[in-house]
């Protein structure tokens, strides 16, 4: 234990002395969360929009009113006919147009299912999709209210977009960012710091000492575990209090699951460090083999359901994907372990796999 303590102290010196890396380790997640939260948001603010209201009755005015008052839109003006919207699109004055058909209210009263047309400028598909989603939400809300007024059957509005009524991006990217940061620090830093000992020649000295190599690796992980937990706290603090991320579930569960992902990441870092003997290679493998899949296959940037089947299968190998599902279940839905034990088990399995593989290599190398 005393030996272990000496080792951990040494590791802290390494981490604390390397000011530039430390700044990066702690600063990067904070910068990222602000970037994602404010700049790189999927949310569309002030999308220019035109409404072509061909009815001008109570129902259509009510809908246009809602659109005009919505923060996501910048209302440009009313058009009188479809060609007005067309011209505005051509001139690049609007990004979306809403066309309300004639006799809108009458159609509703006659239960004729009137159609509202939303046209988006798909040269910017993200914005177009977002705008269409926003307008859909508004009209559906209206429809429910309108039906509720006239029909004796009351419809539960909460059923619609239960967890994310305003289609906020924060519920998507916060869990994704947590996964990304924990993976980045876990995999990259462990692999680089172990390979560094090899490169410097200190690994030989450690192997000659009575200190067990496995204990050395665990000791190496301690500072990064603490840094990761610190980062996790910062992300949660900012995302919950500044960005309005919901937190419905248990903090204990969230932290234990996060520690599980950190351990998975550390075991991957250990595995990588066993395969290479230079810091550059370790860094390259970590970035290509871990950062890229995390970005692509976690599901917070690109929806996995929309990917071709082979890629969907590959996505199952990304540890962050499973963690992402778990975190969403805890933070947004407030669910307990009964709902995501399978995902947790996948992470445990991955961890065991990488540790066993590393230990096998380790023995071979010593022989």
């Amino acid at each position: 234990m005393k030996q272990f303590k000496a080792f951990v102290i040494k590791e802290f010196y390494h981490v604390l002395r390397d000011k530039r890396s430390l700044l990066l380790l702690i600063g990067l997640p904070i910068v990222q969360i602000f970037l994602f939260g404010f700049a790189l948001s999927n949310e569309v603010k002030n999308a220019t929009i035109m409404i072509v209201d061909q009815s001008k009755d109570a129902a259509s005015l009510s809908i246009s009113e809602k659109i005009r008052n919505n923060d996501n839109f910048h209302f440009v003006g009313f058009g009188y006919a479809y060609k007005d919207a067309h011209t505005a699109f051509m001139r690049g004055e609007i990004q979306a147009a809403v066309i309300i058909p004639p006799n809108f209210q009458k159609s509703i009263l006659r239960r004729e299912n009137p159609t509202i047309q939303i046209i988006g400028d798909a040269t910017d598909p993200n914005t177009a999709t977002a705008v269409i989603n926003y307008v859909t939400v508004i009209t559906m809300n209206f429809q429910r209210q309108a039906l509720g007024m006239t029909s004796p059957v009351s419809i539960d509005v909460r059923n619609h977009m239960l967890y994310n009524p305003e289609l906020k991006g924060v519920t998507n990217f916060v869990p994704g960012l947590m996964a990304l940061v924990l993976m980045l620090i876990g995999v990259l830093m462990t692999s680089v710091s172990i390979v560094k000992e090899k490169e410097m020649g200190t690994m030989e000295i450690l192997l000659v000492s009575p200190f067990h190599p496995l204990a050395a690796i665990i000791a190496k992980a301690v500072p990064y575990l603490l840094v990761s937990i610190f980062n996790l706290c910062m992300i949660l603090l900012i995302s919950i209090h500044v960005l309005g991320m919901p937190m419905e579930g248990s903090y204990f569960l969230l932290f234990s699951m996060s520690v599980l992902l950190i351990i998975t990441a550390l075991s991957m870092g250990l595995f990588i460090s066993n395969q290479t003997s230079s810091q550059q290679v370790a860094m390259l493998i970590s970035l290509m083999g871990m950062l890229l899949p995390t970005m692509l296959f976690t599901g917070f940037m690109f929806p996995i359901e929309n990917m071709p089947i082979p890629l969907q299968i590959i996505s199952n190998f990304a540890a962050s994907k499973w963690y992402y599902i778990i975190v969403k279940n805890i933070m947004i839905k407030g669910l307990g372990v009964a709902y995501f034990w399978k995902e947790a088990l996948v992470l445990v399995g991955m961890t065991i796999f990488f540790i066993v593989m590393s230990l096998r290599r380790f023995k071979m190398r010593l022989a």
């Binding site: 005393k2 030996q3 000496a6 410097m200 020649g201 200190t202 030989e204 000659v208 009575p210």
Partner: protein
């Protein structure tokens, strides 16, 4: 008395390549034993087997009374090792390096402190202890590396080319450290390229192509090879080598 290092037909093969071929020798307690040979002759491989870093392919080896194939954990507590590569943590101070290496050998703080004070007095260079190792001149780094290898008072210390790349004055100072350790009863097992250093050893062995070609005191070797320098002894033996730098 039982020799502190003892090998019989010790062999290490890497595939078809026989790095160390059937070497048998013994080193007495307190001896300064020089382990010479050209690059690729198998010195480092032999040394790594003795330290428990490599498992022998065949043959017997005993260090401090323990079998190198089966009891390497017990050996590790009794030996110190200074590798060919300079191997301290550059981003730690001299004091912190000593505390760390003392710590992983399970030394108590008091014992570590005593050791640091010993080198404090020996080197009378106080500000050096709190400077980062990375900023020290190479000669000092080597001396500090030796001191850290000696933190736990090992029975035997293995030095793999400890004076590579440093100037003659520092080499001399380094050998003074070695003599001090030897006077206190530590066995020194040292590899070197410098033949003047070979003269400092009680006994030397010269490895050629994985085998021990000669082993005796420098004085006797010079008589046997009819020359008055170790340089010449080494040259006569090493030029018969079939293999060049392979490892």
């Amino acid at each position: 008395m039982e020799p502190i290092i003892f090998t019989k037909n010790l062999t290490k093969k890497f595939g078809d390549f026989i790095a160390v071929n059937n070497i048998s020798f013994s080193v007495e307690k307190g001896e300064i034993f020089g382990f010479l040979g050209a690059n690729g002759a198998g010195k480092t491989t032999a040394m790594k087997m003795l330290c428990g870093l490599l498992v022998p392919t065949s043959g017997l080896g005993k260090v401090a009374g323990y079998d190198i194939s089966t009891q390497s954990d017990s050996i590790k507590r009794r030996i110190g090792y200074m590798s060919q590569k300079f191997s301290l943590y550059e981003d730690l101070t001299v004091r912190e390096n000593m505390q760390f290496f003392g710590g992983i050998y399970g030394l108590r703080n008091k014992e570590i402190q005593k050791k640091i004070e010993y080198y404090h007095d020996l080197w009378s260079n106080n500000e050096m202890f709190d400077g980062l190792v990375g900023s020290l001149p190479l000669g000092w780094k080597q001396k500090v590396a030796f001191a850290t290898a000696m933190m736990h008072d090992p029975d035997i210390v293995f030095l793999d080319e400890p004076t590579g790349g440093v100037d003659p004055i520092v080499r001399r100072q380094f050998w003074e450290l070695i003599y001090k350790a030897s006077d206190q009863g530590t066995t020194i097992f040292v590899t070197t390229h410098y033949m003047d250093e070979a003269e400092y050893c009680n006994r030397v062995s010269i490895m050629v192509d994985g085998e021990i070609a000669a082993m005796d005191s420098p004085k006797n070797l010079k008589i046997a090879y009819h020359t008055d320098t170790m340089d010449d002894v080494f040259y006569q033996l090493a030029r018969k080598a079939q293999r060049s730098e392979t490892v």
